[in-house]
């Protein structure tokens, strides 16, 4: 792809097995993460791994990419037994991985990040910036991303950073490319481009291993589907034979049960009233990232805000929470103007945000589950100058039960929880402030199907108690099945409003691509 057609297109036909994992067992202490897995990767095919968090897919990918070594079992590359003791070994064998977490240096340019650790040098041993820039540009063009290789990564938005992470793996010229949640921050159009790139790669004979929580997307790109459950490979099927219900059933061992569209709708008074809010984009361009948005949310109502990346959803949420100032308009909470209050004051008045990026904005990693839960309400859990520790423990334990956090105890470190349970802790923290309005930005990002269902059922339960909920999502199925009202945003404006029970995915998708200026607020 970067000009050289070497090992990638070497001998062998498409569909042949390139890599075979044989009887892989991996144990951590007393626990078995993989219980004897046999797994094949085929040349020129996209193999999609399905499975809930902890099912073993990430562990297997770590073994294949040399990050971890199997307890027993081995790998065969094109029929030859190999052992990979480090990621560099794997890279040398032609195996590259796109990690779920971004591993980029914000203060280096896109080019420097793409070639970090594998710099191209000229004869004198100096870095050949010219050739690096050229190759970086080629890869970025291929990904149809209009970023200059000289841009600092820190200046890019999250989705573009993920593109850089992908570009970094692409320049490795791998014959096996592992993609672990490559699209979590990408917009719909960027995902389309990525899929085109994947098609290009498979045509050249590259084997792709693809992992995503976004099931529909994964089914779309798959040639082969492999489902993991509880450390074992439970099902394999060619893409033609699978559909979403099948995948979900294989993953959880039963049919998914989250459809809340039939829940009763009894709303109270308007809790949150967003009135003509405008937010100036923090990137300094002077552009309005939120342009004249007005939304009312009533007690007991769950409103879903759907839109593509860059629609202004996150910016609106941050403005509502009080992190970013608003340029115009008013925010009224339960009849009271809170437009100019600080974050703590807004929380005290009853409005709190569950942020999008759990690791960066949600969790206090060095604290326990309990301390994370009580962080927002600790100032109210006092006796004299001190924290009322008994009361804190009682309330934390109640909350752990209420939001169903699966943990060894409230004193366990927060990092010992799975992603879904961490998310429940962040939501539980917000609920402990006894909010009137709960804002959630992508509450289901990066968590498995089971946990998603639990989180939405929790939201509906809270709504029945009178909470007003406004949440952002990028998954249409979620928007349709788990909301009372669906609002679509595009380019900073509200473009349409739907009753989720009386609309289709096609309608919603079409609305989200609307040119906001032409269709502002009108229904077609």
């Amino acid at each position: 792809m970067t000009g050289s057609d070497n090992t990638v297109t070497g001998s062998g036909r498409s569909g042949e097995v390139v890599l075979r994992a044989i009887d892989i067992v991996k144990t951590y202490g007393a626990t078995q993460a993989l219980k004897g897995v046999n797994f094949e990767v085929r040349r020129g095919k996209v193999t999609v791994l399905f499975g809930e968090n902890g099912a073993g897919k990430s562990t297997l990918m770590k073994i294949i990419s040399g990050v971890e070594q199997p307890t027993s079992g081995h790998l065969e590359l094109e029929g030859n037994r190999i052992s990979l003791s480090s990621p560099n070994d794997a890279r040398a064998a032609g195996i590259a991985i796109i990690h779920q977490e971004l591993n980029l240096c914000a203060n280096l340019s896109v080019r420097d990040n793409i070639f970090l650790g594998h710099e191209l040098t000229n004869k004198g041993g100096a870095v050949d910036y010219g050739r690096e820039s050229e190759l970086a540009q080629q890869v970025l063009d291929w990904l149809e991303e209009p970023i200059s290789p000289e841009t600092l990564v820190g200046d890019l938005r999250l989705g573009q950073q993920q593109i850089v992470e992908i570009a970094r793996a692409l320049v490795a010229d791998a014959r096996i490319l592992i993609m672990d949640e490559p699209t979590s921050a990408l917009s719909a159009s960027e995902v389309t481009v990525l899929f085109k790139v994947i098609a290009d790669l498979t045509k050249r004979g590259v084997a792709i291993v693809y992992i995503s929580h976004h099931l529909e997307e994964a089914i779309e790109v798959a040639d082969e589907a492999v489902v993991f459950r509880d450390g074992q490979l439970v099902a394999t099927a060619p893409a033609e034979e699978i559909d979403l219900p099948w995948v979900v059933q294989q993953m959880v061992g039963r049919a998914a049960d989250y459809d809340f569209s039939d829940r009763p709708r009894e709303y109270g008074d308007v809790r949150l009233s967003i009135q003509g809010v405008k937010v100036v984009s923090p990137d300094g361009s002077g552009r309005l990232s939120v342009n004249d948005v007005s939304i009312d949310v009533r007690a007991g109502e769950i409103v879903c805000l759907y839109g593509l990346m860059g629609a202004g959803r996150t910016e609106l949420m941050e403005a509502l929470a009080g992190r970013e100032p608003i340029a115009a308009g008013r925010i009224v909470l339960d009849g009271e103007d809170v437009t100019h209050l600080s974050i703590p004051d807004r929380i005290a008045k009853g409005m709190v945000l569950v942020p999008e990026d759990r690791q960066r904005d949600g969790l206090v990693q060095l604290m326990s589950v309990g301390q994370n839960l009580s962080l927002s309400s600790i100032a109210n859990l006092v006796k004299g100058p001190f924290v009322a520790r008994k009361r804190e423990a009682v309330e934390v334990d109640a909350q752990v039960k209420d939001v169903r956090v699966k943990t060894a105890g409230s004193r366990a470190p927060i990092t010992s929880l799975s992603g879904g349970n961490q998310q429940k802790v962040v939501i539980g923290r917000a609920l402990m402030t006894q909010p009137k309005v709960l804002l959630l930005d992508e509450p289901s990002r990066g968590i498995d199907v089971g946990a998603k269902g639990e989180i939405f059922s929790l939201l509906f339960k809270q709504a029945e108690r009178g909470l007003a909920v406004l949440y952002v999502t990028s998954e249409i199925s979620e928007a349709l099945s788990a909301s009372h009202r669906l609002i679509v945003m595009s380019k900073g404006r509200v473009v349409r409003e739907f009753d989720p029970a009386r609309t289709t995915r096609a309608e919603v998708m079409a609305a989200s691509d609307t040119d906001a200026a032409a269709h502002n607020g009108s229904s077609s």
């Binding site: 951590y28 202490g29 007393a30 626990t31 078995q32 993460a33 993989l34 968090n53 902890g54 099912a55 073993g56 990430s58 562990t59 770590k62 459950r229 509880d230 450390g231 061992g253 929470a321 992190r323 600080s342 974050i343 703590p344 929380i347 005290a348 945000l353 942020p355 960066r360 904005d361 949600g362 206090v364 990693q365 060095l366 604290m367 009580s374 962080l375 927002s376 600790i378 100032a379 859990l381 006092v382 100058p385 001190f386 924290v387 520790r389 699966k406 943990t407 060894a408 105890g409 004193r411 366990a412 470190p413 990092t415 010992s416 929880l417 799975s418 879904g420 923290r429 402030t433 946990a451």
Partner: protein
């Protein structure tokens, strides 16, 4: 109780290491010199430790926030010089009358001077977004200059006050024994207890740990991170002000260069005590032990007559070894947590429960 021990495992390991270092130091010097464990000697060494320990408590607060305060040494000098100036008589501007403030007024003013320096640090860091290293480095120079300006470079001596004016007793108040122990040791004990309560029992303590570990998350959770930041610098300044007064009483002289270099000893104590310079991790207990490690080491080496050059080498080596061991432990800890997280199981509750048992068998 067991659960609590496990939850605080990393903290206890870090402190345990500092404690082990302290035990080794005590055993070593006790075997080298019979005077080391003598009560008088222990009291003297503890008094020396007290100055650094009090500074280190303030430094701990700042470091927990992920900051650093290089200005505390200079603040020690300034607070001492202001106290010395006042005790020598303050000529009220515009008049020819000289005021001799009482001991407690002097002590109050000394503390306020420290807090004022802290307020400036806090505003620079929290409101003007100056990096803590730079802000406090600048203040380190500026405040030292002020300390020299107070006496125009002179030392204030013979700070015993004048009986006729009723301002005697500065030295005796802050230096003499109270209930068998020198006053600075009592101050250290009281501040240690207060600081410990503050950090572990109040909402502020929770806010401090949270904002030091993940400031963005803390801010979104409603923690007033800027207020927390200002407050810790004020408290660090207050600690420095107190030390300035105690040192002045100890010497019965206010020296403008008093306290220079003390900031580094305070940082060393905090680090030996297991705190992370990146913030969010560290305890009062560990910090106090760290201060004792440094103080006993320095005095012990003098007691057994090791050459001054070797004293410096050994002190440096102890700090480095402490941090290297800490890093290794952190890595171990991380690997363990990583394994726990990637542990499998259809029900997410299972790995958590199981990893707990793993820990117990290893611990």
């Amino acid at each position: 109780m067991l659960a609590r021990l496990k939850a605080n495992r990393s903290a206890i390991i870090a402190e345990g290491r500092a404690l082990l270092a302290l035990v080794i130091i005590v055993v070593f010097f006790a075997s080298m010199s019979s005077r080391f464990l003598d009560t008088t000697n222990l009291v003297i060494m503890t008094r020396h430790v007290a100055f650094n320990a009090i500074l280190a408590l303030g430094m701990l607060l700042v470091i927990l926030n992920g900051g650093i305060d290089l200005s505390v040494g200079s603040t020690v000098g300034l607070s001492g010089m202001v106290a010395g100036y006042l005790l020598k008589g303050w000529e009220i501007p515009g008049t020819h009358q000289v005021a001799y403030p009482s001991v407690w007024v002097v002590i109050l003013v000394g503390c306020l001077v420290g807090m004022l320096v802290g307020v400036v640090n806090g505003i620079l860091v929290a409101k003007l977004n100056v990096a803590p290293f730079i802000a406090t480095l600048g203040m380190m120079y500026a405040v030292r200059g002020l300390a020299e300006l107070v006496g125009n470079g002179q030392t204030f001596t013979q700070l015993f006050g004048q009986k006729a004016l009723g301002n005697t007793g500065f030295v005796s108040t802050l230096h003499d024994n109270v209930l068998g122990l020198p006053f600075p040791i009592w101050v250290m004990i009281v501040l240690t207890v207060l600081c410990s309560l503050y950090l572990t029992r109040t909402p502020f303590g929770r806010w401090l740990y949270a904002s030091g570990s993940n400031e963005r998350a803390a801010a979104l959770s409603g923690v007033p991170v800027k207020r927390v930041q200002v407050r810790i610098y004020v408290l660090a300044g207050l600690c420095a002000g107190i030390v300035g007064l105690l040192l002045t009483a100890d010497l019965s002289a206010a020296v403008p260069e008093g306290g220079s270099g003390y900031e580094l000893n305070a940082i060393a104590a905090v680090v030996i005590g297991g705190a992370a310079l990146s913030g969010g991790r560290g305890t009062v207990r560990g910090t106090i032990i760290g201060a004792f490690v440094i103080g006993f080491l320095v005095d012990g080496l003098v007691l057994i007559g090791v050459s001054v050059f070797w004293q410096e080498v050994i002190k440096g080596a102890v700090i480095i070894v402490a941090v290297v061991v800490d890093q290794a432990q952190q890595r171990l800890q991380k690997r363990r947590t990583a394994k726990q997280v990637s542990g499998p199981g259809s029900s997410p509750a299972a790995p958590a429960a199981r990893s707990e048992s793993t820990v117990m068998t290893r611990a």
